[in-house]
């Protein structure tokens, strides 16, 4: 209960920095896509997308500043999603 009133006021500047990083990463991913990377290309693109989504979730969606319970919830959801993907991918590969 005592935590409820301790609102974190994130400076406007932080949001601008996050936005700038997101735009830079978009430029990076478009540039990298133009280079012939073969099979790694997909992983590079996904890695950049993961970094971008981490920024959005941490700062824009306030996960970094919210109660720990939100991080726990998110972890459960992501682990569930990841296991579904890994299980399906192994099924496709070893068919």
């Amino acid at each position: 209960m005592e935590k409820e009133h301790k609102e974190h006021l994130i400076p406007y500047g932080t949001y601008f920095l996050v936005w700038l990083s997101l735009i830079s990463l978009t430029v990076l991913t478009v540039t990298v896509a133009g280079i012939e990377l073969g099979r790694i290309a997909l992983f590079v693109a996904l890695a950049i997308a993961f970094v971008k989504s981490t920024l959005v979730v941490s700062y824009f969606m306030h996960i970094k500043f919210d109660d720990l319970i939100f991080r726990f919830f998110l972890l459960v959801a992501l682990v569930t999603l990841a296991s579904i993907f890994i299980l399906t991918a192994t099924d496709i590969f070893f068919r």
Binding site: Y12, A41, S53, Y59, F60, F70, A89
Partner: protein, 224 residues
């Protein structure tokens, strides 16, 4: 039986009474911002699984038809896709700023930022509309004879493209409607410095729409 409260002329006691009423009304509202936010996150997880299922299907088909996917993707407009990515990322910034402004009690700034967010949402949809109609003009539409004459992998790529960006666009439309309601609430004062959970939860929804696009963009536009 006359109510003594009404018969007394307006005096200092009147303002005291409203002040008292405000204090009394607070415990009866039972506002629970954390609870509301947990509810919103749980809903967002169901959204994550909804899109997750489609991404799963995409992965399975992409592994099966790698070459067809690359051929089909090369026909998508990279410039429009990149523009829309930047528009959505910027709309997420203005959304976050709108909440940051109301937290500081700056209503005008909050309204301006919310209006900007709605404007970006509209811009995204307009670009998406032109993108889709351009595809339709080239004969590429769900079940069109031209599309059906292509190899299986390309048909599936466009099937996934139309269903996933379509479902995403539907979310943008819903998000825009929610944000319009928030604009009214903000102007009427039911979203304020002390109570802005509605705006915060709408923001969470809007950022989710952005998150989905962050993954849709490289998976459909950046295959070479």
């Amino acid at each position: 039986m006359e109510n003594p409260e009404i018969s007394t002329p307006i005096s200092i006691s009147e303002s005291e009474k409203t002040e008292q009423a405000r204090h009394l009304s607070i415990p009866h509202q039972h506002k629970d911002a954390i609870g509301a936010k947990i509810g919103m996150w749980l809903f967002l997880f169901t959204e994550l699984l909804l899109f997750g299922g489609l991404f799963l299907l995409y992965m399975a088909y992409r592994l099966q038809y790698t070459k067809d996917f690359v051929v089909a993707a090369s026909e998508l407009n990279l410039v429009l896709g990149t523009t829309n990515t930047i528009i959505l990322l910027t709309s997420s910034l203005t959304m976050a700023l709108s909440i940051a402004a109301i937290q500081r009690g700056k209503k005008k700034l909050s309204v301006a930022m919310l209006l900007a967010t709605i404007g970006f949402a509209l811009a995204f949809l307009v670009i998406k509309y032109f993108e889709w109609t351009a595809k339709f003009h080239h004969g590429i539409a769900p079940n069109s004879p031209e599309l059906l004459s292509k190899p299986n992998g390309e048909i599936i790529f466009y099937g996934m493209y139309f269903s996933m960006t379509g479902l995403h666009a539907l979310h943008v439309i819903i998000g825009m409607i929610i944000l319009l309601f928030m604009l009214v609430f903000l102007l009427r004062g039911s979203i304020s410095k002390t109570d802005y959970i509605k705006l915060e939860n709408s923001g969470l929804y809007w950022h989710l729409v952005d998150l989905i696009w962050i993954f849709l963009f490289p998976l459909f536009y950046l295959l070479h």
